[in-house]
């Protein structure tokens, strides 16, 4: 996936994330969570990082579930009345599906940010929307820079003996101090960036050329075509097979349309893994010939 053309990767991610973040069909949610985690695990390759992401997703999932239960009282199966408002099974299930959806979208966006580096973002959008592309890539770049700066300031404070972290309250106070310093830095940094960009001639009226090192090949075209076809199949089948949570949870029906939907999306979700495995097989195959 890392080697294919940015535009193909971009379209693929749009296809996956579009479905993952808008469908609350339990099958789609399960597939997108599993596929996302599989892909993310393959990309990060670091067990502790992967586990912490899973823990994060679990927390998001549980919080979403309970928040939905607190605010939604629709549903036929009532478990309890809390403060005279019903807590329903349907709200729990809807919250669970919603939490899964959010976790899946988060996971896929992490994968996106690993695959789509600044360079690739500029390559995809630089020609069409140069300003937006620049803004996007700068904004994305800003987060890791901000974190790095926080780490830097914290370490400096700690070295000077000013960063107290014995009790929770002290830790909180110190963190606030560092945060305020870093916010000041970021504002200053933004002005500096603007100045230096202007000094280099950014913002002139003439259309600027763009350059990228990526070449669009036959395989990239295939990826785009397959992604779009699977997306169309999933969306089409989804409009035929609707799943409801309120007021009664509909049954999970295995039918013609649901079969198409799940299969198409399953293929879409595991496509990167298939590509990777295919590359490995091809590599082995080629080597054995030599």
């Amino acid at each position: 996936m890392k080697n294919i053309h940015p535009s193909a990767a971009f379209i693929y991610f749009i296809a996956v994330i579009l479905v993952a973040s808008f469908s609350i069909n339990p099958g789609i949610v399960v597939i997108s969570v599993m596929g996302g985690l599989l892909f993310y695990g393959m990309l990060c390759g670091n067990v502790s990082k992967f586990m912490s992401h899973i823990a994060f997703c679990a927390v998001v999932w549980i919080i979403t579930m309970f928040i939905n239960v607190i605010f939604s009282h629709n549903g036929v199966i009532i478990i309890l009345f809390v403060n005279n408002k019903p807590i329903t099974m349907e709200a729990f299930l809807y919250g669970a599906a919603m939490g899964g959806m959010i976790a899946a979208a988060l996971t896929w966006c992490r994968c996106l940010s690993i695959i789509m580096t600044d360079e690739k973002v500029m390559c995809v959008m630089g020609g069409i929307l140069p300003k937006l592309a620049l803004l996007f890539s700068m904004a994305l770049r800003f987060i890791p820079r901000f974190r790095a700066q926080i780490k830097k300031v914290t370490e400096a404070q700690r070295a000077m003996g000013l960063y107290q972290e014995d009790s929770v309250i002290q830790k909180f106070k110190s963190a606030i101090k560092v945060f305020s310093a870093v916010v000041t830095w970021s504002l200053e940094n933004a002005i500096e960036t603007g100045d230096s960009m202007r000094a280099r001639g950014y913002g002139k009226k003439e259309k600027r050329t763009s350059f990228s090192i990526f070449k669009f090949g036959k395989r990239d075209g295939m990826v785009i075509a397959i992604s779009l076809a699977l997306l169309a199949a999933t969306m089409g089948a989804m409009s035929k097979y609707k799943f409801y949570y309120y007021p009664v949870v509909s049954e999970i029906k295995v039918s013609y349309w649901s079969g198409i939907m799940w299969t198409a999306y399953l293929i879409l979700a595991v496509m990167p893994v298939i590509l990777e495995i295919g590359a490995c097989v091809k590599w082995k195959f080629c080597r054995s010939k030599i």
Binding site: H73, N74, V76, I78, I79, L80, F81, V82, N83, N84, K85, P86, D166, S167, V168, I169, Q170, K242, Y244, Y245, Y246, P247, V248, S250
Partner: protein, 578 residues
């Protein structure tokens, strides 16, 4: 070791702090003492000795005789003895036999010896007044008196004569009454009390008492209390409670005496006033006789609790025996309708759901204790981790401790304030506002308009089959509600009563917005759909919780699919004109 003990004490303290909010709920046994002392305090205004011979004072002494056995009533005893001695020959006439019996009971309860008077009054002899000619009231009191005073029968009269006479007076519907053919709650309950000691020995008695107990079960109101001569009152309820205690029926758990989740005990507490007394009717003032009879019942329940014996055989055996040997014993529905009480209908569904209510009675407590446990454990873990890192005397640890204590207490208070109920408990609740005047209004909920826009209805809703076919979610129903209630109050009450789902946003007292009724929500039928309400045919321009009802108002909740235009709301009214 010392530091560990200190740490443990701190955690224990946290836990206790959280739990102490719930302690009143856990320690329930002292409730009865509080109630009894409340009545005693209230009653202290009067002196007992001067009013000997009046019904309420006698009852009061009879009740307290069991509660404070030793010498408390010497003044009363003197006064009562004097009173009886002064009665003279006329005082022992037959027509006053009932009053005498009650007084003798009181004298006995206050520690005196009434056997001489009993003989003098010929209560247990056929000489002046034949046993079989006596009224049910006299028979019942006679039997109770004989039991209480351990009277030794002499001559040709036995306790069996009384029992036989009482059984003969049993009515077709299983109860007893002073006159007429309809059972009266008080008489039935008192008959059960009088016969209760003989149930084990005598099969006839056991059958008779079974019938009477069944009748009492059918007579109970949904609120748990009882009525006599068409008026719900505390005395009847107290007598039934007393009868149940005498029969060793577990009134807290026996499904026959739990209506809509309310026990007889709950019913009795409806009559409690703030000053500790009990009223005769709902919302009335404290009443002497009501207090005295309630006291009798409370003392008896207390005695049962103190004994804490497992339910004796009779209580469990009796119903099955009735079912097998004599199917007629259970009162048939047609007979029940003839009872004087208005709402006595054999409620089978209530009986079947009742065991569930019993099991889940304390679910709120369990959930809260569980949550407290989780918080306590996490607090403990946090403190242990911090203490390990810094040591117990470190300033940083103390700061942490303060922080976590504050958080724990806040969360604990928040959890404690939650009101958790099972659906059964929720729907069994009734509006227990008693002290206010009630007004009659009517309400209907209608969603007929959705069928004119059936293409727009949410598919899920259409498929669920939860929408009524004619659009009538709640047909026009007359109901009463306390004065000053809003349209929202009546909606809330009636949806609760009819178990209709209701979701609203905003407060209960102002700016309430009805999101959905019976799973039909705003936007469920197109983007202009939602609930609106009319009072007396006119759309109001305030939130339903801000509209105060008047007597005779007709409230209609109607579902609109077109911002009110399809249900007759004309938005180009005068207010809208420039």
């Amino acid at each position: 070791m010392y530091s560990f003990v200190k740490r443990f004490m701190v955690v224990l303290f946290c836990f206790l702090l959280i739990l102490c909010g719930n302690i009143p709920k856990i320690v329930l046994a002292s409730d009865n003492h509080v109630l009894i002392n409340g009545i005693i305090e209230w009653k202290k205004i009067e002196t007992l000795d001067e009013s000997a011979g009046t019904s309420s004072t006698d009852w009061y002494v009879i009740a307290l005789g069991d509660y404070e056995p030793e010498g408390t009533f010497s003044d009363y005893l003197k006064a009562a003895t004097k009173f009886v001695n002064n009665l003279g020959a006329d005082g022992f006439e037959n027509d006053r036999i009932n009053d005498l019996q009650r007084m003798f009971l009181a004298i006995d309860a206050s520690g005196g010896d009434s056997s001489g008077y009993i003989t003098q009054a010929d209560i247990f002899s056929n000489d002046k007044y034949a046993i079989k000619d006596r009224t049910i009231n006299e028979l019942i009191f006679g039997l109770i008196l004989a039991d209480k005073t351990n009277y030794v029968f002499e001559g040709n009269v036995k306790s069996a004569d009384f029992i036989e006479a009482i059984i003969l007076l049993q009515l077709a519907d299983g109860g007893f009454a002073l006159s007429g053919t309809r059972s009266d709650t008080d008489m039935t309950a008192m008959a059960v009390q009088a016969l209760s000691p003989y149930v084990k020995e005598n099969l006839e008695v056991s059958k008779c008492v079974d019938k009477a107990v069944n009748t009492l079960s059918l007579m109970q109101k949904d609120t748990g209390d009882y009525s006599s001569f068409g008026v719900r009152n505390a005395e009847s309820t107290a007598q039934v409670l007393l009868a149940l205690c005498k029969m060793d029926i577990d009134y807290e758990n026996d499904s026959r005496f739990i209506k809509q989740g309310n026990t007889v005990y709950d019913g009795l507490l409806l009559y409690k006033k703030d000053d500790g007394s009990f009223s005769h009717i709902l919302g009335g003032n404290g009443n002497d006789i009501a207090c005295a009879q309630t006291l009798c019942a409370l003392v008896e329940t207390l005695n049962k609790k103190v004994e804490n014996t497992p339910t004796p055989e009779i209580a469990t055996n009796v119903p099955t025996e009735t079912a097998t040997t004599e199917p007629v014993a259970t009162v048939s529905p047609t007979e029940t309708i003839s009872l004087p009480t208005e709402t006595v209908v054999p409620n089978n569904s209530a009986v079947t759901t009742n065991p569930e209510i019993e099991n889940k009675n304390n679910i709120s407590l369990y959930i809260k204790v569980g949550l407290f446990g989780i918080i306590a454990i996490s607090t403990f873990l946090f403190l242990v981790i911090r203490a390990k890192k810094h040591g117990i005397k470190n300033k940083a640890f103390i700061a942490d401790l303060a922080l976590i204590l504050v958080i724990t207490v806040i969360v604990g208070i928040a959890i404690n304030s939650l009101d958790i109920k099972t659906p059964q408990q929720y729907y069994a609740e009734t509006n227990k506002q008693v002290n206010t005047k009630e007004i009659g209004v009517s309400i209907s909920i209608d969603c007929n308009t959705i069928y004119n826009n059936s293409t727009n209805i949410d598919t899920s809703l259409k498929e669920s089959g939860l929408l009524p076919e004619n659009g009538e979610i709640l047909p026009r129903t007359d109901c009463s509600i306390s004065e000053g209630s809003s349209v929202f109050d009546i909606l809330l009450n009636m949806t609760k009563e009819s178990k209709i789902q209701l979701e609203y946003a905003g407060g209960i007292t102002n700016s309430t917005y009805i999101k959905g009724i019976n799973y039909l929500y705003e936007f469920s039928c197109g983007s202009l759909s939602g609930w609106m309400y009319k009072v007396n045919g006119e759309f109001a321009d305030v939130s339903c919780s801000d509209y105060i009802l008047k007597e005779g108002d007709v409230v209609e909740f109607v579902y609109s699919c077109d911002l009110g235009r399809d249900i007759g709301q004309n938005w180009s009214g005068e207010d809208m004109a420039p």
